[in-house]
């Protein structure tokens, strides 16, 4: 018996040895490159090259799998693996790092980065280096935040937000009552590796409704390693006495892969530049997630679970017209740490649960995938202590089968997105009624690439059925919406110049909040009234992107023009209900959004350690139907980031210095605003950060935000209209630690 076991063991081991795939990464001088991230994108598994540049996958890599090689300081590369070729990859030096705007080749969930305008932001160290995930994303050109402190934050893309910017988390659409600005993004950076962003209406595969843009968040990959890997991180910010901690572990044994993460954050009210505190800007977040994968030859199964709990205060609340509020009534002259971390009123209690199952099968030129997800969001908004103003549960089930087929230079993607959404009130008091929808969206996308030329085209047909039968709200509604969306683009590379032209069209059916709202929304201090006559809004976008880069300088020019017809908007009326102004939903015939984004990255040859990045965002929105502009359109901005890396200076490294960075943003004044908004003045803001590296495992950053204690209220602040504009946080410092093992 012992012998049989021994022989079996040896056979298994032999099998493992034979099934390994080995490769090497070298630079242009034929020197091995260590610590290169070797990302098996079709399997979502990450390997690292060792000291001699070699990497080993413990299992066979199926033919035609995509592998993404990347390391800071090198131009990343995506290759298609074939087992009959020598597996040696050459990475070229690249001192600029413009991956975020797609200068270099990289793998993307949203499509071919050459053919589609996809921007990326690594979230790997966002906990260590940024106040929040959303603030980190907002460093990209054309991206802004709607917020009221760190507790409530959501993304604005080229002036559009809410229902028009669709968020995906690991392939699942996040529906968390995102129609309202006081409902945040619904998850933290916990365990996330990267976010991909498509601006405008080009995100065909992930739904027609992303007229403003699509954010695709994805977890950091599984690792292939014999050792358990993980981290523990903690941070403190003295503006709101925020303390936050995260942990994560990654484990792999044979064909099994496992990731586990947890987070706890607690914050009081944030401090304004005049040393008062915005009452009830406090929040508390708990999050937990894990994912398990099993890979066997060409088949991979992944299961993911995520839980997010949030208790978030709604600051600047008033029972009178927000403009009439005296700022001293909503700010505290001091913090009482024994009480000011506790939930008060009004407050949101949020529970999000996400279940995902993914199946991938890769065989030569075909990849079959199935994504099934279920997301449950419970939102209770309390103004009183004893009963909620509304209590909603939204559950969303989504199934997405997809076939990818490669034929020489052509890649076909054929699939469909099927989603069922159910919105249910748990109380009689309600702002939106019980409602449900069914969405079916088959799509076909074709990519063609040859040498320096590429072409991409796709079409999607969406059918949406929306029903509501709510006796309490007196709503009976049954309607169907359907339309076709499309995207087409060409790509051409000439020496170091890259040209990309895209034309796309999408549509958005009205949301049930826009159709049926009828009640006070304490989060916005409004009485909101829906309109059942609303119909589809249509968008079309032209976008051009020019890129040029060499070893030391990168330049991106990205003009765009988007036309939206039947634009759904909420506008104030002269009526009041229970002291709250009544706002109606209506449609504008035509809205035009145009602008240009420019990115520069300069890196002097004499000083390789200095990185200078700058982005310009210029945006103009024209409402052809009204003398007023659109609401929450961000002001034009110039964002500058200067980074100095100390790692080549032994004297400084001796003092544990890692890097120093300066982030500056200049916001122009916003003179184009909606009827219920007002002009917002220009401002400058400077943040500093010093990175320390005690050893390879223990990292630290010390930050100083709002260096000059500038008093400003961004045009997109959700409390811009309260008391003449409630300012953002004043000068504050933060300290962040991360231990990796």
């Amino acid at each position: 018996m012992k012998n049989i076991l021994l022989v079996s063991f040896l056979m298994m081991h032999t099998f493992n040895l034979f099934s390994q795939t080995k490769g090497q990464v070298i630079d242009s001088n034929n020197f091995p490159v260590k610590d290169v991230n070797v990302f098996l994108s079709d399997q979502n598994i990450l390997l690292y090259s060792n000291n001699d540049g070699t990497f080993i996958s413990k299992q066979d890599i199926p033919n035609n799998s995509y592998i993404h090689f990347y390391k800071f300081g090198y131009a990343s590369k995506v290759i298609k693996y074939t087992s009959d070729q020598q597996f040696k990859v050459i990475l070229e030096d690249l001192h600029i790092n413009l991956d975020e705007v797609g200068v270099v080749e990289s793998f993307s969930e949203l499509g071919n980065t050459k053919l589609t305008n996809i921007e990326k932001k690594s979230l790997k160290d966002v906990f260590l280096k940024n106040n929040s995930m959303v603030e980190s994303i907002a460093q990209l050109a054309g991206v802004d935040i709607v917020s009221s402190g760190l507790g409530i934050q959501k993304v604005v893309v080229r002036g559009l937000s809410g229902m028009r910017v669709v968020t995906y988390l690991n392939g699942m659409q996040i529906n968390n009552q995102q129609w309202a600005n006081d409902h945040g993004i619904g998850f933290t950076d916990l365990g996330l590796g990267e976010v991909e962003l498509i601006k405008g209406s080009s995100a065909l595969k992930y739904g027609s409704e992303a007229i403003g843009g699509l954010l695709y968040f994805k977890d950091s990959p599984f690792i292939s390693s014999d050792k358990l890997k993980g981290f523990f991180a903690t941070k403190f910010n003295n503006s709101s006495y925020l303390s936050s901690s995260q942990f994560g572990i990654k484990w792999n044994k044979n064909n099994f892969y496992f990731n586990l993460y947890g987070q706890y954050s607690l914050s009081s009210d944030y401090r304004l530049p005049n040393n008062t505190y915005l009452f009830n800007s406090r929040f508390n977040q708990k999050a937990f997630k894990f994912s398990v994968a099993h890979r066997y030859k060409k088949l991979q199964n992944i299961f993911m679970y995520q839980y997010h709990n949030e208790i978030t205060g709604i600051p600047a609340h008033a029972h009178v017209d927000p403009a009439d509020v005296n700022i001293s009534d909503i700010t505290s002259s001091f913090l009482d740490l024994s009480t000011d971390f506790k939930a008060t009123r009004p407050t949101q209690f949020i529970n999000n649960q996400l279940f995902i199952y993914k199946l991938n099968y890769l065989n030569n030129n075909i990849k079959l995938s199935l994504h099934a997800g279920h997301f449950i969001n419970t939102l209770q908004e309390y103004e009183k202590w004893s009963s909620p103003a509304f209590d909603l549960t939204i559950s969303n089930t989504q199934i997405t089968p997809n076939i990818r087929y490669k034929l020489d230079r052509l890649t076909f993607n054929l699939g469909s997105q099927i989603s069922v959404l159910d919105n249910k009130n748990n109380e009689d008091l309600r702002l939106v009624p019980d409602a449900s929808s069914l969405n079916i969206g088959p799509y076909f996308i074709l990519d063609y690439e040859k040498n320096n030329f590429g072409y991409n085209s796709g079409i999607r047909y969406d059918y949406k059925s929306l029903k509501s039968e709510d006796n309490i709200s007196n709503v009976i509604y049954d309607n169907e919406f359907s339309n076709t969306s499309f995207s087409t683009g060409v790509f051409y590379k000439f020496n170091d110049n890259v040209f990309r032209l895209t034309y796309s069209g999408a549509f958005r059916a009205p949301h049930f909040s826009e159709l049926f709202s009828d009640g006070v929304h304490h989060g916005t201090n409004r009485y909101e009234l829906g309109n059942q006559n609303l119909d589809i809004e249509y968008a079309s976008q032209y976008e051009f992107k020019y890129q040029w880069s060499n070893e030391h300088f990168g330049f991106v020019l990205n003009p765009f023009l988007q036309n939206i017809s039947d634009f759904i908007s909420i506008v104030p009326t002269d009526s009041f209900n229970n002291s709250f102004r009544v706002y109606n939903y209506m449609q504008y015939n035509k809205v035009e959004i145009k602008g240009v984004e420019i990115n520069l990255h300069y890196h002097p040859h004499q000083l390789h350690n200095l990185h200078f990045e700058q982005s310009y965002s210029f945006l103009q929105t024209i409402n052809k139907d009204d003398q007023y502009g659109l609401a929450l359109v961000p002001a034009n901005s110039i964002k500058t980031n200067i980074l100095f890396d100390f790692n080549e200076y032994e004297r400084l490294v001796k003092y544990k210095l890692d890097y120093f960075s300066l982030f500056h943003i200049y916001k122009f004044s916003q003179e184009d605003f909606a009827e219920y908004e007002e002009l917002t003045k220009s401002y400058n803001l400077i943040n500093l950060q010093l990175g320390l590296k005690f050893n390879d495992k223990l990292l630290c950053s010390i930050g100083l935000n709002n260096l000059f204690n500038k008093q400003y209220s961004p045009h997109t602040s959700r409390i811009r209209s309260v008391a003449g504009g409630v300012p953002n946080a004043g000068r504050s410092f933060n300290i962040n630690l991360k231990y990796e093992f």
Binding site: K227, L228, G230, S245, F247, I249, W251, L260, G262, Y264, L266, Y277, F279, N284, K286, F288, N309, I311, H317, A318, H319, V320, D321, A323, D324, S328, D329, I330, T331, S332, S333, F334, L335, D336, K342, A343, T344, R345, P346, E383, K384, W385, S386, S387, S579
Partner: protein, 107 residues
Amino acid sequence: MKKSNYLLSAIVACSIALMSSCSSSDEDCHECHIALENSDGTETMWEISNSSGGEDFCANELITVEDPAYLHTVTDTLTSADGLVLLPGEYGVSNGYEIHCEEHAHE
């Protein structure tokens, strides 16, 4: 590997403790006031007392006083912070007043 398992167990235990601790209690008591919106958009507030004459409303009494149908009986004349008086009588949503039990910023 054994070491890894201990570490894994410790992290899982810590995470469970993390998730289950620090739950806040909402069974606190709160001060309440009668509020009247003025024509200029401002609000006048009069602090009210509970059934025992104290400031805080707790448990069922808090639920009662926050009910939109509730009418609070004022027995003595009340004076707001800005000197406006509220005569004895019954006050609630039905006659244009509201009763709020929100906490306010520290002055």
